[in-house]
């Protein structure tokens, strides 16, 4: 018996494969013709899926876009830089009230740190305000003007496209010179290439300055325009724009020396600022990674909301699919009976309806994915938000919708498969 059956086996297996393939093909053909003949109904049915997938894709695209620009910017700023300031970057509770009463930081702190911080590779003081810039051609209000020294170039990853950055003599002699961000250069001297902007003169709060350099373009960081900054020697800043401002210090170390440098800085600053032993620091040492952590908390929450909203909408969409599939099964009861009479197994009918429900759902998912990217792109055009299309997001959209189709189609499909052929054929 087994010997006789053996040569038959590959043929039977092959026939099984063909049968499964042709049944799936048949299922697809039926599903497509059902979709075409009920276009409006199919559209309405998939609306829930479309909206759900669209929401998720739009949010995910925006988060991905933010991640990309954030990573680029953070990379540009240098991960080994410590920022010493009166203010802590990430505040909570009553921090603000406590920090408001802290003593301002000034020359004494900068000089102590540059003299004594042996682990520091660069020490850049910085202080800023918003001021009005005027050139012969244009006037720009509320421009971020920053006073710093030559080390800022290293500590904050600034590079110049034309001219040069601040030099030690600029700082020592409090020269009235300025490095412009590319956007400022474009607006103040329209039509002039960066190289020709160098040497031009402009006024800040009525005082004349000479442009010595134009920065390379850096883009935006969380809505902050990094290309619209004006940089001048901090000594000049303190002389011309008020000596009473608090300054911050950007201090860099060799890789791996961050913690040691932080300890050293704390020791120096406590001594200079005369903090009694046992009292807490009256200054803060900030790091990029604190910002990163906050950023990831925020986007993580956003992700959570996106997934939550998406899941709820997909649930609603899935119920819509289930509903319409139940209608479809009822409408085609006799057809199911005929198919069963002609030799379709239960599994075949199950497969047919699963193919149909996941196809409907995936079409909705595809439309939703396209719309989601469209929404993200429009948002990126009209707001400071960025957007990015990642293959993962596309896969997520399509995969999720197919899964919803399968999940919510399985009960109607199961019902279809378990119809009694006799009853189904007699159904009016």
């Amino acid at each position: 018996m087994t010997e006789a059956a053996r040569p038959d086996r590959p043929r039977r297996a092959r026939r099984g494969v063909i049968r499964l393939a042709s049944e799936t093909g048949e299922g697809l053909r039926i599903a497509l013709s059902a979709l075409v003949s009920n276009t409006l109904r199919s559209l309405l049915t998939t609306l829930g899926i479309v909206i759900g997938v669209m929401t998720v894709i739009a949010i995910v695209a925006i988060i991905d876009g933010l991640n990309q620009s954030f990573a680029t910017q953070m990379g540009g700023l240098g991960a080994h830089t410590l920022y010493v300031s009166k203010w802590k970057w990430i505040m909570s509770g009553n921090d603000w009230w406590e920090q408001r009463n802290r003593k301002d930081m000034g020359r004494a702190e900068f000089e102590a740190v540059s003299r004594e911080a042996t682990l520091a590779t660069a020490v850049a003081p910085f202080v800023s305000l918003d001021a009005t810039l005027t050139s012969g051609q244009a006037e720009l209000t509320r421009v971020r003007v920053r006073g710093t020294n030559q080390d800022y170039e290293v500590a904050n990853g600034v590079t110049v496209a034309a001219g040069r950055f601040l030099s030690p003599p600029d700082v020592e002699l409090s020269r009235s010179v300025m490095v412009l961000g590319p956007n400022l250069s474009d607006k103040l001297f329209p039509g002039l290439p960066a190289a020709e902007v160098v040497g031009r003169r402009l006024r800040v709060m009525g005082r004349p300055f000479t442009v010595i350099g134009v920065q390379t373009r850096r883009g935006r960081l969380m809505g902050l325009d990094l290309d619209s900054e004006a940089t001048l020697p901090w000594t000049t800043f303190l002389r011309d724009m008020g000596a009473k401002r608090t300054i911050s210090l950007a201090v860099t170390s060799e890789p791996g020396q961050g913690q040691a440098l932080e300890d050293q800085l704390i020791g120096i600053l406590r001594r200079v600022r005369r903090v009694p032993p046992g009292k807490p620091d009256d200054f803060s040492v900030n790091r990029q990674e604190q910002l990163q952590r906050l950023y990831h908390q925020l986007t993580g929450a956003l992700y959570g909301v996106a997934i939550g909203v998406g899941l709820i909408t997909l649930l609603v969409g899935g119920i819509g699919i289930m509903n319409i599939m139940l209608v479809s099964v009822t409408e085609r009861t006799r057809e199911i009976g005929v198919r069963r009479a002609l030799g379709a197994r239960r599994r075949t009918i199950l497969l047919q309806f699963l193919v149909e429900s996941s196809l409907v759902s995936m079409l909705g998912g595809a439309v939703g994915t396209a719309l989601g990217f469209l929404v993200a792109w429009l948002l990126a055009l009209t707001t400071p938000l960025a957007a990015a299309v990642t293959p993962g997001a596309v896969g997520l959209g399509l995969g999720f919708s197919a899964a919803v189709g399968l999940l919510f189609g399985s009960w109607p499909a199961w019902r279809a498969a378990n119809l009694d052929p006799v009853e189904a054929l007699r159904y009016e």
Binding site: R19, E23, R334, V338, R339, A341, G343, R346, P421, L425
Partner: protein, 242 residues
């Protein structure tokens, strides 16, 4: 072929409706041989539909045995019954039961899809079957573009395409005008002449009278089994007598 194609022994089918047992079929026995043309005739409620469902392997009996082409139908699983229907039985329904969105060709191909035949083979067999029923030039029409008689021919082609052991027709002329019905009966005659085994379920004595053999059912039992004309007449006399 040894033994009869169909062998039925004391077949019963009971339904429980509202707590009461209805004996739709109550101990029916007969054999049908290869190449026979048999009418199963009876009024509504006689049990002929129940018998047809059992013969068509769409339903299983409460008791008794049914052997079809050597297979013990009562012992088979649902999947095995589906495969058996696919291989052994060609259904022709009163209301044609064609898939409305599919062409004639696609409708006829359907049983072969479930048999797992490759596309090209299916296409060739379906074309042959449609030519046999005289629809060579209607292959790509949808059912709503065909007349009633043409639709029933498509249904017959669909029943024939898999080369089944029996053709099981349920009131095949019921939804047709008398002239078209006559054409269909003539087509059955041709198929019988070519050696097909035909079982025709009908309530019309005139149709039964034209079959070489008829089995007359009443209240779930066999009233008569013999040459079509005699059994049909038997029904007529009883109808007059009551």
């Amino acid at each position: 072929m040894s033994g009869p194609l169909i062998s039925i022994d004391r077949l019963t089918r009971h339904y429980v409706v509202g707590g009461e047992t209805v004996r739709a079929l109550d101990g029916v026995s007969f054999d049908i041989g290869q190449g026979e043309w048999v009418a199963i005739v009876g009024q509504s409620g006689s049990g002929k539909s129940t018998l047809m469902n059992l013969l068509g392997c769409l339903d299983t009996a409460t008791s008794g045995t049914y052997r079809l082409n050597g297979a013990d139908v009562e012992t088979l699983s649902d999947d095995a019954l589906a495969d058996l229907r696919n291989r052994e039985i060609g259904f022709v329904f009163q209301t044609f039961q064609l898939l409305p969105r599919a062409t004639a060709l696609a409708n006829v191909e359907l049983p072969l899809v479930y048999r797992g035949l490759p596309r090209r083979e299916r296409r060739a067999l379906a074309e042959t079957a449609l030519r046999q029923v005289g629809l060579a030039n209607r292959m790509h029409h949808r059912p709503n573009e065909l007349s009633g008689g043409q639709r029933q021919r498509v249904a017959i082609a669909r029943a024939l395409v898999g080369d089944p052991s029996i053709l099981l027709a349920d009131e095949p002329t019921g939804n047709l005008d008398s002239q078209t019905g006559e054409e269909i009966v003539r087509l059955f005659g041709e198929l019988h002449a070519r050696g097909h085994t035909l079982i025709l379920v009908t309530h019309e004595p005139r149709l039964a009278a034209r079959c070489p053999r008829a089995i007359k059912l009443m209240d779930g039992r066999i009233l008569g089994d013999g040459p079509g004309a005699e059994v049909a007449a038997l029904q007529a006399t009883r109808a007059v007598g009551t």
